[in-house]
């Protein structure tokens, strides 16, 4: 893997994310890149389902939100340190996803997509009525919890670096899976699930495994993100529009590729930032996202990477 150029492309992206805000000394740039890192994490992991196995997960945000809740709860109510709480969120949500996956992955196509929305809505309804997690009012974290990390200012930097690390791991996870036998089986499922099964691919187990794997890093990202906000409530944690944005991003960049979701996330975040600051188009990004999705599905199903590969076929070996 170390000898493949793409390994170093990912390393370069991580380095740029980590160093740019330090060198520029720019907190605004850091906040913008932090959102980009979250988007890349969500879109890359969604891509494991969408681009590899060919299953549309409309409710992928449930991993992020549930991870946030577990992390915030463990820190606030149980006094766990950040690292342990975030990791527990990842493991817990992954396990939950595996169990849910065994159930809903018996469904295919539109029925699966609908059931993923159902999972998100069900968890949101549960959390809204779950008193230990503050019900619909949500949970607050005391700012004292930033002290072990050297105060709020430094804590924000640390959370940023951790999120960049999670983003990097997401890209490497996508890469490792794609280069493996597991990945080949997933791609076969994405192409023709019945044929894959006849060829011996253990479809059900693979689907549940990838559903679970695609939950791990978004849950950790959710934990870090809501720790940074020091506040979490059901409406923010399980916001379906973020799920939709993740799908737009993966499709925009090129589903099934590794560079695609990252490129799509960066461009989308730039676009969103620009729309938010322009007075006329404030909060207009979802309209644009919807239109973008239509255009991509109709005219460029391969997304940006599909276009790039068509134009420069040799890049296929470098940018996977």
């Amino acid at each position: 893997m170390l000898r493949r150029p793409f390994f170093w492309v990912i390393a370069l992206v991580i380095a740029v994310f980590a160093l740019a805000p330090i060198l520029a000394g720019d907190v605004e740039l850091r906040e913008s890149l932090l959102l980009a890192a979250v988007y890349i994490t969500l879109a890359s992991n969604l891509n494991l389902m969408l681009g590899y196995a060919g299953y549309v997960n409309f409710g992928s945000i449930v991993f992020f939100g549930l991870g946030g809740y577990i992390c915030v709860y463990l820190m606030g109510a149980q006094g766990w340190p950040l690292a342990a709480a975030a990791l527990a969120a990842g493991v817990g949500v992954s396990l939950a996803a595996f169990l849910f996956g065994l159930g809903i992955l018996r469904l295919r196509g539109a029925f699966f997509a609908l059931s993923t929305i159902g999972v998100n809505e069900a968890i949101q309804a549960f959390v809204s009525n779950f008193d230990p997690w503050g019900g619909s009012a949500g949970l607050y974290l005391s700012t004292e919890l930033f002290q072990p990390l050297g105060g709020p200012m430094q804590a924000l930097w640390i959370v940023y670096f951790l999120l960049v690390a999670v983003m990097g791991l997401s890209l490497y996870l996508s890469y490792a899976i794609k280069a493996s036998k597991f990945g080949l089986g997933l791609l076969a499922i994405g192409q023709n699930e019945n044929a894959a099964a006849v060829l011996g691919v253990p479809t059900w187990r693979y689907k549940a495994l990838v559903y679970s794997a695609s939950a791990f890093l978004p849950a950790i990202a959710g934990g870090l993100y809501f720790f940074k906000s020091a506040f979490i409530q059901p409406a923010d944690a399980f916001d379906l529009s973020l799920s939709t944005e993740a799908i737009v991003i993966a499709m925009l960049g090129g589903q099934g590729t590794i560079t695609g979701p990252a490129l799509g996330a960066y461009l989308y975040e730039e676009l969103r930032g620009w729309l938010l600051t322009s007075e006329t188009f404030s909060n207009f990004q979802l309209v644009i996202a919807g239109a973008l999705l239509l255009v991509i599905v109709l005219f460029a199903p391969g997304g940006l990477m599909g276009w790039i590969y068509g134009r420069w076929p040799r890049l296929r070996k470098v940018l996977e």
Binding site: G185, Q191, L199, V201
Partner: protein, 250 residues
């Protein structure tokens, strides 16, 4: 000696239609058994019952002495039973080599990726796809897709191969090539159960032929015995051309 594949009392109905009806037969190691019968006789359904696409209503399928009745298709594949589809099922956006690699990876030997690629390349060469390894399956002609279907099944290094009309839709040159490939597969010690409408080919390929009609076994024997069986000729009378062909072979 126990048979490689043993079917006992196998039945499957679809909404009142008995597609396979109390069928029993056996296949020994190294044999090529031909399966013929009019359209709708239950031949493809039988394949789907053997490799686990459908679960039978009744009966047993034993492979290698192991009961595989109703086992999922991927488990059956692991046991060393591979098949091709009458309507080809290529993984369209993957290359020829990748298609075959899937077969090799998840087949009987459960090979790691690198060795699976070698095995895939070898079988692609065997069926004559060596020039098309990096082509997407979608770009192949029908004859190419048929070969791919066979190469992919073969990449799993199966003990038993179920071939569902691999010759249908091919021109005479392609048929000759494919028949040659099937002979070479047999020389490797692979047993074959083959469905085919093309009498010339199936009569020359098969050691033994089983005739199905309405899901039941109508006749069984060597190609010559079967072709002379009055019941078989009777069943084919609805299709005079086929009856004629049968006669000419015998």
């Amino acid at each position: 000696m126990t048979a490689l594949l043993e079917i006992r009392g196998l039945s499957k109905s679809f909404g009142g239609v008995r597609a396979v009806d109390g069928l029993s037969f056996a296949l020994d190691t190294g044999e090529i058994v031909g399966l013929i019968g009019p359209n709708g006789a239950g031949k493809s359904t039988l394949f789907n019952l053997i490799n686990g696409v459908f679960a039978p209503d009744a009966g047993r399928v034993t492979f290698h002495g192991i009961d595989i009745t109703g086992a999922a298709p991927d488990r059956v594949a692991r046991h060393g039973l591979a098949r091709t589809h009458q309507i080809v099922q290529p993984l369209l956006d993957m290359t020829v080599l990748e298609n075959c690699t899937v077969g090799a990876c998840f087949g009987r030997e459960n090979l790691p990726l690198g060795r699976a690629r070698e095995a895939a390349r070898e079988t692609a060469v065997l069926v004559g796809l060596e020039d098309r390894l990096d082509q997407r399956a979608a770009q192949l002609t029908i004859a190419g897709k048929k070969r791919l279907e066979l190469a992919r099944a073969l990449s799993a290094r199966p003990v038993l191969l179920l071939l569902d009309e691999v010759l249908a839709g091919l021109n005479p040159t392609e048929i000759d090539h494919m028949v040659g490939v099937i002979h070479r597969i047999r020389e490797r010690g692979v047993s074959i159960l083959i469905i085919e409408h093309l009498m010339r080919a199936i009569m020359s390929l098969s050691d033994r032929i089983i005739v199905l009609n309405s899901g039941q076994k109508l006749a069984e024997g060597t190609p010559i015995e079967v072709a002379n069986d009055p019941a078989v000729i009777e069943a084919y009378l609805g299709d005079p051309a086929l009856a004629e062909q049968l006669h000419r072979r015998a």
